[in-house]
C-alpha cells in the first residue's frame, strides 16, 4: 500500500526530529544508538495509537512545532507538556485523538519537561538504516535525510487508516509521569568510581547540580561542586565504550551525563544513571536542578521492572479494546 501524506510542517520549533528506539548492535563500528531521549514516552505514545514499540515518532524539543493535518489519522502526544492545541483548542496528552484533514496541530512552550513525542497510528515513514529510523544529527543520516525537520516538510505514514479505532485510548492519570524542576536521579557507582576520593563521592551525592544551557542530545552538562579525581591521576583514561546515562567527569571537574549520541569516551565515569531513570534524561532542561542517589544493582532491576509493569498494564488495557487492532480499512 502506498504511503499517505499525513502532516505538513508549518513551523519546526528549535529542534524536531524523527526518532524511534534507536540503533543497537553497531557500537563496534562507532555508530551510536541515537533514538528518543525519553524512550518511555515514545513507547507509551506508540502503544496508544496501536504501533509497535520501535516505530518512529516526532521528538519535539522545548517548543514551537506547528503542523497541518493532511489525512484522517489518530495521534498521541506524550512526554513534556507543551500545551498542544488542536485547531486552537487544548488537546489532551497521553491519549489517542482523531484528527481530520485540514486540522492544525501546534505546540507552545514546554510548561513541564523538555521533549514532547508525537506518534501517529501507522507510524511516520522513514527508511530503516541499521535497523532504525532514528535521526543521527551529527553524522547526518536516518530520519528525514539525516536532519531536523523544517518548514514545508511533508511526513507520510503507511497505514494511518487502519489505526483509526485507537482513538480514545488513554493512559490512566495515575500512570502519567510527573516532571519536576528538581530531579533526583538514581545511579550505580562506576565504572571508574575507585579513581575518585571519598570527599568527591560524598559531594557528588550531597550537593545539587544545575543543568547548563550547553546541554543537548549529546549530553546534559552540569554545573556545581567540582568533582576532582584522586591526586596524581591523569585527566583522561584509555578510551572505552560508553552508554547513555554514564556520568563522565572531564578535566574541568564538571560532570556530563552522556546521552545516546556517543559511543566511546576518554574520561572517567563516576557513576551511571539506572535504566529506570533514563527516560527522565529526556525531560531535564537547562536551569533544572539535579541530585544523585546511589542504588544497588538489585534496586535498579526492581525499579526497571516497575516501569515495565506500567507499560504492560497499558498494553493489557488497550488489548482489551479489539477496535484498536481491528480498525477500519478505507
Amino acid at each position: 500500500m502506498a504511503a499517505v501524506k499525513v502532516l505538513q510542517i508549518l513551523a519546526s520549533g528549535p529542534l524536531t526530529t524523527l526518532q524511534d528506539l534507536g540503533r543497537t548492535g553497531y557500537g563496534a563500528f562507532g555508530v551510536p544508538p541515537s533514538g528518543a531521549v525519553d524512550a518511555f514516552s515514545l513507547r507509551i505514545g506508540n502503544l496508544l495509537v496501536g504501533n509497535p514499540d520501535h516505530t518512529a515518532g516526532l521528538e519535539i524539543t522545548l517548543m514551537g512545532l506547528r503542523a497541518k493535518v493532511l489525512s484522517e489519522m489518530v495521534v498521541a502526544i506524550t512526554g513534556g507538556d507543551m500545551q498542544p492545541l488542536h485547531n486552537g483548542r487544548p488537546l489532551p496528552m497521553w491519549e489517542a485523538a482523531l484528527l481530520n484533514p485540514g486540522d492544525t496541530l501546534s505546540f507552545q512552550v514546554a510548561k513541564t519537561g523538555c521533549r514532547s513525542y508525537l506518534t501517529v497510528g501507522g507510524g511516520f515513514e522513514a527508511p530503516k538504516i541499521m535497523g532504525s529510523a532514528a535521526t543521527n544529527l551529527s553524522t547526518g543520516f536516518g530520519g528525514l535525510d539525516g536532519r531536523a525537520l523544517k518548514k514545508g516538510d511533508l511526513l507520510a505514514s503507511h497505514s494511518p487508516h487502519t489505526h483509526l479505532g485507537c482513538a480514545g485510548n488513554r493512559l490512566h492519570g495515575a500512570m502519567v509521569p510527573e516532571y519536576a524542576d528538581n530531579w533526583r536521579l538514581r545511579v550505580i557507582w562506576g565504572p571508574q568510581e575507585p579513581d575518585f576520593p571519598q570527599a568527591t563521592k560524598t559531594r557528588f551525592l550531597k550537593d545539587a547540580f544545575t543543568v547548563t544551557s550547553e546541554s543537548d542530545r549529546t549530553g546534559i552538562r552540569l554545573k556545581g561542586p567540582l568533582l576532582p579525581a584522586k591526586e596524581g591521576l591523569p585527566t583522561s583514561i584509555i578510551s572505552e565504550g560508553v552508554v547513555p546515562g554514564a556520568i563522565q567527569v572531564p578535566g574541568s571537574g564538571q560532570p556530563i551525563i552522556l546521552l545516546g549520541e556517543t559511543v566511546t569516551g576518554g574520561y572517567r565515569k563516576i557513576a551511571t544513571v539506572i535504566s529506570a531513570d533514563l527516560p527522565w534524561l529526556g525531560q531535564i532542561r537547562p536551569d533544572h536542578g539535579v541530585k544523585f542517589e546511589a542504588v544497588t544493582l538489585s534496586e535498579a532491576q526492581k525499579a526497571l521492572q516497575k516501569r515495565e509493569d506500567t507499560l504492560n498494564r497499558l498494553r493489557e488495557q488497550i488489548g482489551s479494546h479489539p477496535i484498536c487492532t481491528q480498525g477500519t480499512t478505507p
Binding site: 557500537g27 563496534a28 563500528f29 555508530v31 551529527s138 565504550g241
Partner: protein, 230 residues
C-alpha cells in the same frame, strides 16, 4: 603451550552494561586479547546481549537488563576467556590507504615537520613506513584509532581543536594516527586526505575499517584523486 590468559576486571556501567577490562595499557598484546574475545562473542552470542564495543584494552557489553544479568555475562565471558587462543585468530585484513599529503589536504604537515625539525617529505616517509594496528573504532562512526606511530613522528595535539575537520582527513596525535570519516570537531594534526569512504550508513557493514585490521598508508598525487572519485 597454553596461551597467557588475561585476568579480567569486571566493572558495571549502570544496570545495562558491563565493562570487561583485559589490561590497563595501550599495546598490541592486550588489544589482541580484546579482538579475540570480541570474535569469540560473535561466534557464541549470548541471548540478551545487545551490543559489544571493543576498545583498546576493554570490551563494553551492553545488555537487556530484563533478559540478562551481569553475573550470567561474567560466567559466559570467563568461559570464553578460558578457551580462547589469540594465536589461532584469523589473519587481520590489511587496508592500503591512499593519501594526498600536505598543502590544503594536510594543513598541519609543515608544522609537524617543523616540530620534528625535518622536512615534510621525511614526515610522509615516516607515516607511510609502518603497518598500523586498528585498536578500536569510536569517537565518530567509522573512526579508526591506530598505532603506534614511530617515535620520531609522535606529536602533541593542536592547542586549539578545529571546530570542523573535513571527512577523509588523515591525522596524528601523540602515538596515534586516525582518519576522520565524517565532518566533526577535532584536535589532531592533519597530515593529508584520503578519498576512501570510511563510513557509509547504507553499506553493510557501514565502516570500511574494523577493529583488529591493519592499515598501511601510501602517498598519491592530488591529480590522482580524480580516479578515486566515481
Amino acid at each position: 603451550m597454553n596461551p597467557p590468559h588475561p585476568n579480567p576486571q569486571y566493572r558495571l556501567m549502570g544496570d545495562r552494561s558491563l565493562l570487561v577490562e583485559l589490561g590497563n595499557e595501550i599495546g598490541p598484546e592486550i588489544n589482541q586479547h580484546v579482538r579475540c574475545l570480541y570474535l569469540a562473542l560473535q561466534t557464541a552470542p549470548l541471548e540478551g546481549l545487545t551490543d559489544t564495543m571493543p576498545g583498546y584494552r576493554s570490551i563494553l557489553l551492553v545488555f537487556d537488563p530484563l533478559k540478562l544479568t551481569p553475573t550470567l555475562i561474567q560466567a559466559h565471558v570467563d568461559g570464553l576467556l578460558q578457551e580462547m587462543d589469540p594465536a589461532s585468530l584469523p589473519e587481520p585484513e590489511t587496508h592500503r590507504v591512499p593519501v594526498v599529503y600536505g598543502d590544503e589536504y594536510g594543513p598541519d604537515l609543515t608544522m609537524v615537520a617543523d616540530y620534528h625539525q625535518t622536512t615534510p617529505e621525511a614526515i610522509i616517509q615516516r607515516h607511510t613506513a609502518t603497518h598500523y594496528r586498528v585498536y578500536m573504532i569510536g569517537f565518530t562512526p567509522g573512526f579508526p584509532y591506530m598505532g603506534q606511530l614511530p617515535q620520531n613522528l609522535v606529536t602533541p595535539r593542536r592547542d586549539i581543536p578545529r571546530t570542523a575537520v573535513p571527512p577523509g582527513s588523515v591525522a596524528i596525535a601523540e602515538e596515534q594516527t586516525g582518519i576522520y570519516p565524517v565532518q566533526s570537531p577535532g584536535g589532531w594534526q592533519i597530515l593529508g586526505f584520503t578519498p576512501l569512504r570510511l563510513f557509509d550508513p547504507a553499506r553493510h557493514p557501514p565502516a570500511l575499517i574494523h577493529m583488529g585490521d591493519r592499515v598501511r598508508f601510501y602517498a598519491i598525487q592530488k591529480q590522482e584523486l580524480r580516479q578515486w572519485r566515481q
